[in-house]
Symmetry: C3
Subunit: 363 residues, 3 copies
Amino acid sequence: LRKLSGAFSVAQALEAVGETFNSSTSHHGLTHLAGLAQADQQALSFLSDRRYLSEAQASRAGAILVSDSLRAALPASVSERLVTVANPYLSFARISQWIAVQLEAQRESQEGRDLAPRPFGVGAWVHPSARLGQGVQLAPGVVIGAGTVIEDRVRLSAHCVVGRDCTIGADSLLYPHVVIYDDCQLGARAVVHSGTVIGGDGFGFARAQEQWVKIAQLGAVRIAADVEIGSNCSVDRGTLEDTVIEQGCKLDNLIQIAHNVRIGARTVIAACVGIAGSARIGSDCMIGGSVGILGHLDVVDKVTITPMSLVMSGLDKPGVYSGSSPLQAHRDWEKSAALLRNLPDLRSRLRALEALSKKTDQP
Amino acid sequence: LRKLSGAFSVAQALEAVGETFNSSTSHHGLTHLAGLAQADQQALSFLSDRRYLSEAQASRAGAILVSDSLRAALPASVSERLVTVANPYLSFARISQWIAVQLEAQRESQEGRDLAPRPFGVGAWVHPSARLGQGVQLAPGVVIGAGTVIEDRVRLSAHCVVGRDCTIGADSLLYPHVVIYDDCQLGARAVVHSGTVIGGDGFGFARAQEQWVKIAQLGAVRIAADVEIGSNCSVDRGTLEDTVIEQGCKLDNLIQIAHNVRIGARTVIAACVGIAGSARIGSDCMIGGSVGILGHLDVVDKVTITPMSLVMSGLDKPGVYSGSSPLQAHRDWEKSAALLRNLPDLRSRLRALEALSKKTDQP
Amino acid sequence: LRKLSGAFSVAQALEAVGETFNSSTSHHGLTHLAGLAQADQQALSFLSDRRYLSEAQASRAGAILVSDSLRAALPASVSERLVTVANPYLSFARISQWIAVQLEAQRESQEGRDLAPRPFGVGAWVHPSARLGQGVQLAPGVVIGAGTVIEDRVRLSAHCVVGRDCTIGADSLLYPHVVIYDDCQLGARAVVHSGTVIGGDGFGFARAQEQWVKIAQLGAVRIAADVEIGSNCSVDRGTLEDTVIEQGCKLDNLIQIAHNVRIGARTVIAACVGIAGSARIGSDCMIGGSVGILGHLDVVDKVTITPMSLVMSGLDKPGVYSGSSPLQAHRDWEKSAALLRNLPDLRSRLRALEALSKKTDQP
C-alpha cells in the first residue's frame, strides 16, 4: 500500500471532503488508511459495523472514524482515538478519494518523471470531423471515429477505440483497451475499466432453412451520468431502440448486458451477471454475483437478488429473492441431487399414505 | 435510432432482399424499422407471434409484415397496412441488413467525412511474409504475423492482432481488439466482436510433486464459414488436435470454449456459457445463457438446454433439458434449501411410515 | 497439428526433458504427439488411465509412454511399442514443451521469415523512467508507464499496457492485449493470456442519499512466481491491502478475482469462476468451472469444489463439495422445481402422518 509522503490530521481530511470535525483531540501524523486489524499508529481507520467492535478495541490505528451509537459501545481506553462522524463508511469513502488524488500528484512529481511528459498526446488517430473538448487527454493508440464528440477533461487511456458519432461525457475516464462502437453515448463522469465493450451487436438471428440470418442491430447504447463499469463487460447495442443504463448505476466485472435491456438508476450489479435481451430492471436494485436474468421481463425497483440465482419471470414486489442450490459435501450432495429428481415419486408415496391414513382413520 | 434520409416503400425493401411483393397497396414513405408499439407512420414493423396481435391492432406503423395465418386474425381496420410474406421475422431480418448497408453509406457520405479518408491503411504492422487479398482494410494498430493469409475484402478493425500462419476467410469482419493466436483458421464471412480471443492455450497441466507442469497446447482453432462470435469470448486452441466450430454457429458474448471442443453446425450459444475440454456438441443445438457443460461428453444434435443448467453427462436424445434452481422469496428459499439438504432424512421417514402402514394394513 | 520436420526417438525426447530411458527397443522416426486413438506410426502417445487400455491396445502409435502397472495389463502384441516411465502424463507434459520449443524454432527459420526481423522493438511507448532488463522483447503498441521494471527476458506482445510502478518478473510472457494497472507485481515466469486485466478497481461504493460514493482502491495486485492466467480474466486491485495470488496457481479463462482475495499456492481455478471480495482460498484447491465463492470467508487447503456450485460460507475441512442442481428432461424438471418450492409443505404433511401413526400405534 502506498502512503502519503507528508502526514495529515483527521481534521484536515474531514474538512477536505466537506465534513465538519467535532472533536477535542487532534489526531495528527496520519499517512494512510487501513482496516482496523491491519492499522498502525499512522493509519486512519473506521468502524461502521457492530461485528467489528472487538477489532476496534484491539486496533492500533492512530484514529478511528465512528458513529455516535458505536462510540457508546466502546470502552474508555480507546475513546481518545475515536472521531465521531455521521456515517463512518461514507466518510471513509470520501477520504479514500482525497488520498488517491494526493497519491497521484505525489507519483507524478517523483524524480525522473518530469524528464518527459507522460506519453499522452502522441500516437492517437483522431478523425478530422471528431470534436475534442478542453483538457482532453489521449494516450497512445487511441482511435476516435468520425463525428464523435469527446467532452471536456475526458481521459482516454492507451488503445481505447471510440467509434463514429459517439459522445463521451465530460470528466469521463476510460482505462486502457475500452471499445465503444458507433453511435453510443456515455454520460458525464463515466468510469469504464479495461476490456469492456460497449455497443457490440445484440444477439439476434432469424432462422431460414439451413442457416441463421442476422438481424442488423440498428439501435445503440445510452449510458447516463455517474455510471461506473468494471473490466471485461459486454453491453450490447439495441435492435431497434437503445440499450439504456440510467444514472448512477455501478457494474462490476465480466457482466453481460444484452440488447434492449434497461437498467434503472443507482442499481448495482456484481460480477459475472448475465441479463438477457429486453429485460427491464428497476432502480436501486442489487444484483448478486453470477445471477442470470432472463429476457423480456420486468423487475421492479428495490429488488435484491442473491448470488447465482436465476430470475425466470418478472418480479413485481420489492424484496430479497434467492434461487441458488445449497453446497454440501459431495457424498451428501449425490444423495440430495438424486432425491431431487425423485421428488414427484416421494410426493406420490406421501399421497398414497395420506389416502391410506384417511381410510384407516374413518372406521 | 438512425433513420434513412430518403424514404423507401415496402415493395422496394422486399425486392431488394430477393422476396416478392404481392400487395395491391403501395406503403411508401418509410424511413426505418420499429417494433409494433414504438412504430410511427414512417416505420415498417412486423408481426410474427400471435401474442402480439393486440399490439399490431393498435400499432401506428406505416406497414406491417405479416403471415397469411396471422393476417386472418386481424380486423379489417388495419388490413390496408398489412403486407403478407411467408416468414415475417425472416423478412424483417433481411430488411434490417439492407437498411444497415444504406445507413453505413449515408454515414460515410456526410459532410466533412470526405475531408480525409477513414484512417484505415495507416499504422498497421504487417509481416512481409503475410499475404493480403484484394480490398482488405486494415485499421490503425493492426498486427499481422508471418505466413498469415488475409483473404479478399476482410476488414480488420483497430488493434486487431492476428498471429502467424493463420487464415482469415474472405469477407470476414473483425471488430476492434480481437486477438487470433498463431495457426488459427476463420472461415468466410466470419464476424468476431471486440475483446474475443481465439486460440489461447487450453488449460492443461500435469502434477509433479510441488508444481504443475504445463502441457504445451500444440493444436489450434478451426472455425468454419458463417460463424459469428460475440465480444469478450475465449476459444482455446486444442492440445493435440484442433478445437472446431462448424458452419453457421452463432455465439453470444463472454463464452468459454475449452480446448478440443467440437461444436456442430448452426448451434447457437447464449452469453456466459462455459463448455469444458473435449466436449462434443451436436448440430442445431440451442444452449441457454450461463449454462455449463462438463468435458469429455457428447451432446447429440437438436438438444436445447435452458439457462443456468449444468450438463454433467452426455445427452443422447434430442429434446429440452433443464437443471436450474427455482427463484423464491429469500425466506422461503432458506427453508427449501435447508430441506433440500435433508431430503435423505425425509425419505427415510417416509419409508418408515410406509413400512408401518404395511404392517398396520396386514392384520 | 504441426509436426517436426526432422524425426526424433523416444530416447532423445526423454533425455531432453531430463528423464532416463530404460528400454531395449529404439522407437525412431517420430514427428509429433497424438492421442491413442488418433496416433499413427510417426506419433508418440501415452497411457495414464486404465480406462484407455483398449484404446492403447488398438492404437497405431509408434511408441506409447506407460507406467509399470499399466504395462502389465497390456498384451504382448503391443509390448514392443511401450516405453515405461514413472508418470506417463507428466513425461507427456514435459515432452510437449520440448516439441513446442522446436516447432517455434522451425517456424522462425522458414523461408521468407528472415526477410525481415519480427516486428518486435518498433512502435512501443516506454516511459524514460521505466527500466528494461536484458533480452526484453516489446511488440508493436506496447505501453509501459513511469517507474515500471520489466525484468530479463520478459516478452510483452502486441498492445500490452503496463501501468506505472509495476514489476514484471523475469521470463514472463504476456500475450497480446494484456492490461496491468499501476503498482501491480507479477512474479517470475508468469504467463498471462490476451484480454486479461490485472489491477482494475475493486467494486466498492458507500451509499450517500441518492448516490453511490466510490471507495478509491488504494491497494494493488501481487502475483507470485509460476502463475498462469488465461484469457479475459479480471483480477481486481485491493482496497487497502493487495489482492494476492500465490506461487504456482493456474487460472483458466473468464475468471473474476475480486479485491482483497488471497489464493494459496498451486490452487487451480477452471473457467468462468467468480470469487467475491476478501475471500481467502487455501493452497492446492481445485475450483471447478462456473463456481461462485462469496466474499469474506475462508476455504482451507485441499478443497475441491465441483462445477457450478456456490460457496456461501467458509469451508474448514479438506474434501470435495458440490452444490449444483441436477439436469433433467424439461418436463420432469418442471415438476421437481415446483416440488422443491413445496418442500416445506411436504414436510408438514409428513409430520402430520407421523403424529397420526404414533397415535394409531399407541392404543
